[in-house]
Amino acid sequence: MKRRKFLQKSALASTSIMIPAFLKAYQPQQLQNSRSGKVLVIVQFSGGNDGLNTVVPFRNDIYYQNRPSLAVSADDVVKVSDQLGFNPALQALQSLYDDGLMSVVNNVGYPNPDRSHFRSMDIWHTASESNEYLSTGWLGRYLDSNCQGCEAAHSALELDDGLSLALKGAQRKGYAMSDPRQLKKRTNNPLLKHLATQSDHHEEENVAYLYKTLANTYSSADYLFEQSKVYRSTTTYPVTAFGKNLKQIAELISADTDTRIYYVSLSGFDTHANQRNQQERLLKQYAEGMKAFVSDLKKNDLLNDTLIMTFSEFGRRVKQNASRGTDHGTANNLFLIGGDIKRPGFYNEGPDLSKLDKGDLIYKVDFRNVYATILDKWLGSQPNTILNKPFRSMDFI
């Protein structure tokens, strides 16, 4: 705790010269908010991760029958329970699992699943029904709900150059930044710098919106740049873009940055052909990244305030295809990692491979129940209004 106090002080000291006065004015308040606040990290696997080769039902004959050349052999599986185990590429997760920092929810999906990447990702981002089209994301609507401690534009931060639909609300949007230094460079245009200070007196609503967004873009870019210098992590992360992003997030969290939600993606899970190498390469990046991330946060006593949710837009077909790959499927597993997990281990039973719908897994947990739980118990907001209808809370936190 002493270390954190020091960090806060140095954060103030180092930012006081650089940032505009109006930002400085609310800084102490911000720090107080973030100190008591919880942090949510979303990890998105893009492309449809094959859940069955991620969490392997290594005692199930049907699994081995359906995947003659793709199944993970029982000998190789990291056996964390007597029925289900991790793909060997997830070895690094075992310690998190053993330490009770992780909950695996099986069979997560939604009614009438869509097998298109774009559409299914939309559904996960907007938390819509599968025949409903929403133009705002679930976290964007959380921002719209006047949530406490999310006044700043960077309250929800995506580690990317572009912003995902999940973080777009009707009134407020999250903030996209792949790298604080690059963003700083992009805000170097002196004319725009000047215009960013001219956000008053625009009558037309949309013009005012553009100026306000510009002003927020600049103040957050400055703030994040300064924050990124407060704490340098000494933990070793995998040398990949994903590892770098996780390190960036850990540094910002450790610097007590006024950001409640972080969003980061790992792409390339669309493994129609020669799945094994591709998927295992990604899973390894993920697991090693997570292990580093968790230990980094633990060092600064921040893990209890952090919840990490990992999802993919769908799982894959039970039966492998002719190209040693798998095609688009439906229900999938979802990981929750953090220091405050109430039901560590496997949250529910693994998939029932004897009961499929046209060769696909049948979902048992609606993903919106997971969202509702996070919104309710972690972010302290009103899930019913944000998700447009009631979803029962679960008890993983």
């Binding site: 996209a176 690059q182 992009r186 553009l210 510009l214």
Partner: protein, 457 residues
């Protein structure tokens, strides 16, 4: 002059300099007549590249994947051609603008360039015609049939996707039909399919010829009957007019005007051209509250800049990068509901890119922007790139050279903006201090185009 700018930005993509000089003092009536006359002489757009690859069942998975990839690339090239066509002074701006609107309305992800181009030509053909012909043509359009799974809509196993979107998004809107209406409508469209050559085919073998009950009436309806019955409802006219109003006039609707226009639209048997003419010649269209209130879509922004600035890209794939990074890829809308538009276009990332774009183009500056990765494995993804382009400002230079700075700024902003903004003279004095006149004019241009007001039309 302000009315002409407003008209051409809403009914088109602004004006080229020569056009602007010719038309800026025209009456609205004259300009509207000219826009409609141009639209009558429209031409079909040719395929960018004449190759047309379809996957066939006999292909291996790898061949299929390769073919699809090739086609995706051709679709992307086709989108570049379309943007250039929007900006061309040879084409009808009104027709291209209407087509862009309908493309967002009948939103469809096209898998091949032939399908994409055919659908667009179909839309062009009916864009200012009768709405019924347009809906019917879309219902028979192979790209839409594939996108909304009507290939799989068969008597023994109906697929409701097309029937649902037809009512929910394309014609009458939620709350005006029942789930049973959808089921019955789906039966009426069974067998409306397409072949491998990308043509519409009716497959009698899988069509359901039985009696259906739709909107309380019973009969052996087919798809055409269903469309007729949907258009018999006044709610359909209201739904379409409201969408057109929000796109062409103001996202904040004036219910009285909408009611009035809906009546006219219904009574004219859904004559789209007549409706648009009423809108563009009405006094309320030119009131202050309706001017400069719309945030340009990325495609409107690009087409507009191409039109007013003579931008010559060294590599036209720059227009693909901009579509993707700014969030509007033609022939690839996010879903069947189309692009949500307006404030949805703008977040910190897209705004910074939009406002930096003039500097990137004029200075060939490095753009540091990584596109969101595709779902597939091992995508190469360039992080930095330069939007190498020649911007020919010689005409604009001759227009304002020798004049005082204030006057130069006035003239340039009258030309460039749908609604000229308030401009801070000291700011531009600072920017242009100590520069040669040519440099100063270029800096003025970059400055004006970087104003948030330039994003508006």
């Amino acid at each position: 002059m302000e009315n002409i700018n407003h008209l051409y930005w809403r009914a088109g993509f602004g004006l080229g300099l020569q056009e602007w000089q010719d038309k800026k003092n025209w009456s609205v009536q004259r300009a509207v007549d000219h826009l409609f006359a141009q639209a009558k002489q429209h031409s079909q757009q040719a395929l960018t590249k004449d190759t047309f690859a379809v996957t066939t069942p006999s292909m291996s998975d790898a061949q299929k994947a390769e073919t699809r990839k090739k086609e995706r690339r051709l679709v992307v090239l086709q989108s570049v051609d379309w943007i250039k066509r929007m900006a061309s002074t040879e084409e009808s701006p009104l027709l291209e603008k209407m087509s862009l609107f309908w493309h967002g309305h009948f939103a469809c992800q096209s898998k091949t360039s032939l399908l994409a181009n055919n659908q667009l030509n179909t839309i062009r053909q009916h864009a200012l015609g009768h709405f019924k012909d347009l809906v019917l043509a879309i219902a028979r359009d192979p790209s839409m049939i594939r996108f909304l799974n009507n290939q799989q809509n068969k008597k023994l196993k109906p697929n409701e996707n097309f029937a649902r979107e037809l009512m929910e998004l394309f014609t009458i809107g939620r709350g005006n039909y029942t789930e049973n209406d959808i089921k019955e409508a789906a039966r009426a469209f069974t067998g409306w399919s397409s072949n491998l050559k990308g043509e519409f085919v009716f497959r009698p073998g899988v069509h359901d010829y039985g009696r259906k009950t739709f909107f309380g009436k019973s009969g052996r309806f087919d798809g055409t009957d269903i469309i007729d019955m949907i258009l018999e409802k006044r709610e359909t006219a209201h739904f379409i007019v409201k969408k057109i109003y929000r796109y062409f006039v103001n996202e904040k609707v004036d219910e009285e005007v909408i009611d009035d226009l809906s009546r006219q639209f219904y009574d004219s048997s859904y004559d789209i051209g007549a409706l648009m003419r009423v809108i563009f010649t009405s006094d309320w269209f030119y009131t202050e509250k309706n001017k400069g209130t719309k945030i340009k879509s990325p495609v409107e922004l690009m087409a507009g800049m191409l039109k007013s600035l003579h931008i010559d890209f060294e590599n036209e794939l720059a227009l693909v990068f901009l579509q993707k990074s700014l969030g509007q890829s033609l022939f690839n809308p996010p879903n069947v509901a189309g692009w949500p538009g307006n404030k949805n276009w703008v977040d910190n990332s897209t705004l910074l890119l939009r406002l930096n774009l003039p500097a990137y183009l004029f200075n060939s500056q490095e753009v540091n922007f990584k596109l969101k990765e595709e779902f597939e494995a091992k995508q190469k993804n360039k992080v930095t790139r330069r939007l190498l382009a020649k911007v020919d400002i010689s005409q604009l230079y001759s227009l304002v050279k020798g004049k005082a700075l204030q006057e130069q700024l006035d003239i340039l902003s009258q030309y460039l903006f749908a609604q000229p903004p308030t401009i801070s003279l000291p700011l531009f004095q600072r920017i242009t201090r100590g520069k040669t006149e040519e440099e100063a004019i270029q800096l003025q241009l970059v400055g004006l185009l970087s104003l948030p007001e330039y994003q508006m039309c």
